[in-house]
């Protein structure tokens, strides 16, 4: 089953599964088996932005005034974000393009990955603006043990899928002995399992890990520090919301069996594995929070609060892909994050921002018709 950049077979791409069907030939978008991916492409294109549009001159001054432990929090968080987007800027392409079978999904993967490279470029923009020697920061990403631990867990499912697909494309099905790794068995169900787990781990990366890092970035902005950085993170967060919706759609389409009946069986079999991926990532993120705040907290954010946010957001994301929630925390411990996450193109009235900041969990049960007199009913 070797990969072809232009499949010469004539087939109906509307009948192909998302993955492991025919290699795509004609890039056509006039018809789609899953129109959602075409809509995601359109939306992502409409979001296009460039990091240099955001002025960071105040951030440099802010950064210099931060306490040492705050600099550690800010820079470690930025390094982690750089790692995650380094992975995301290439891996969807490398891992998924050789096995995708729908033109609209192929282009969504490329569009998605491209937007990640903008995120990576924005980290360079930020780092260049706040420190004199960016190399010190970038080098630490490959040597700092706390960061490399993260790198292993965010890349292992991708790497495993890529290795299996390479074998499949050169050798086909069978059991192959790979020096240093032993026997690797390549069957279609095994490939599909590797794919499903990869998509799940990407969903965790974008929908859980990234949001934890957003919380830190916005924690500074809540104190009116590093606001240029927060503006960039806000643009990144808008993209990530779209990306996580993309992986949620992939997972839910796979699990429904509507796209590929065999995939539904695999998704069912993988339920516990996926659950474990979420829980393991959440535990790692909590550990990471402890590392971030090891020398001191910031006003409004500490290891405990960030840990609760990890639990809360993990619950939300688990539920979105049809899993039972796992953690105790059912309320967002940092409701102020919503006002930062909301996209600039959407108007939020100031009082709504206040509601989210100060009226957490409060409800008014004394409402009756008279409360609606202000409205033209």
């Amino acid at each position: 089953m070797s990969y072809s950049t232009f499949n010469r077979k004539k087939f109906d791409s509307m009948k192909e599964p998302m993955f492991f069907g025919e290699n795509v030939n004609v890039a056509r978008y006039d018809q789609q088996k899953h129109p959602i991916f075409e809509k995601l492409i359109e939306k992502q294109l409409s979001f296009f932005w460039r990091p240099e549009e955001v002025d960071l001159s105040n951030d440099r001054k802010d950064f210099q005034k931060l306490e040492e432990h705050e600099k550690h929090i800010f820079l470690s968080n930025l390094k982690y974000q750089t790692l995650l987007d380094s992975v995301q800027g290439r891996s969807p392409n490398v891992a998924l393009l050789p096995i995708v079978s729908l033109p609209e999904l192929e282009t969504w993967i490329e569009t998605w990955s491209f937007s990640e490279t903008i995120h990576s470029r924005s980290y360079t923009h930020i780092i260049r603006n706040i420190v004199n020697d960016p190399t010190l920061i970038f080098d630490d990403i490959v040597t700092n043990e706390e960061i490399t631990k993260r790198a292993d867990s965010v890349s292992k499912y991708y790497d495993n899928l890529i290795e299996m697909v390479n074998l499949y494309n050169t050798m086909g099905f069978g059991t192959f002995n790979i020096p240093g790794k032993g026997d690797i068995e390549i069957t279609m169900p095994k490939l599909k399992k590797a794919l499903y787990l990869t998509v799940a781990s990407v969903n965790v990366l974008e929908a859980v890990r990234f949001y934890v890092s957003f919380a830190c970035s916005f924690g500074f902005a809540e104190r009116t520090l590093m606001e240029g950085n927060a503006k960039i993170i806000k643009l990144i967060a808008r993209d990530e919301a779209l990306h996580l919706t993309g992986t949620q759609h992939m997972m839910n389409l796979m699990a429904s069996g509507k796209d590929d009946p065999e995939m539904a069986i695999i998704a069912e079999e993988c339920k516990d594995d996926v659950r474990d991926i979420f829980i393991e990532a959440a535990e790692q993120e909590k550990e990471w929070a402890t590392y971030l705040f090891k020398d001191g907290s910031m006003i409004g954010l500490n290891a405990q609060i960030l840990g609760q946010y990890v639990e809360y957001i993990t619950n939300v994301r688990m539920q979105a892909v049809g899993l039972d929630t796992y953690f105790e925390t059912k309320h967002n411990p940092i409701p102020w994050i919503n006002a930062w996450l909301v996209s600039d193109n959407v108007q939020v009235a100031p009082q709504e921002a206040e509601i989210s900041s100060y009226l957490v969990g409060q409800t008014d049960n004394s409402l009756d018709d008279s409360d609606f007199d202000d409205f033209d009913l």
Binding site: I36, K39, L40, K43, A237, R238, A241, L242, L244, T245, Q248, H249, N252, N315, V316, Q319, A320, G322, T325, K330, N332, P335, N338, L341, V342, S343, V346, V348, E352, I355, S356, L359, V360, G361, Q362, T363, D364, N365, L367, D369, D371, F372, F375, L377
Partner: protein, 98 residues
């Protein structure tokens, strides 16, 4: 009051629906999505995009009907609604995340 204005106001009255949340109850219209009306009533709802593509505002719909003026990009789980873009079409009961 003219005779023509009465049926009109009655018709608009019919567009007011009850939203039950636990033991609380609020009234909403079909003029705007549920999210803004919940916020105005002091009820905190999670959100990010406020236009249907992030699923942050997903809330359990226990019973009743909502509709979407445009199809949201986010996956809407069965038994859930997206508050930022859902228009309430009948009395409904909703529940937050458990």
């Amino acid at each position: 009051m003219t005779s023509t204005s009465k049926p009109e106001s009655l018709e608009k009255k019919e567009q007011v629906h009850r939203v039950l949340i636990g033991k609380k109850q609020i009234l909403v219209t079909e003029e705007e999505p549920l999210l803004v009306q919940l916020e105005r009533a002091g009820i905190h709802v999670e959100y990010q995009c406020r236009e249907g593509y992030c699923s942050s505002c997903s809330i359990k719909l226990l019973w009743g009907n909502v509709c979407y003026p445009f199809e949201p990009l986010a996956w809407v789980q069965s038994g859930y609604l997206l508050a930022c873009c859902a228009i309430v079409k009948s009395d409904i009961e909703i529940a937050f995340f458990d």
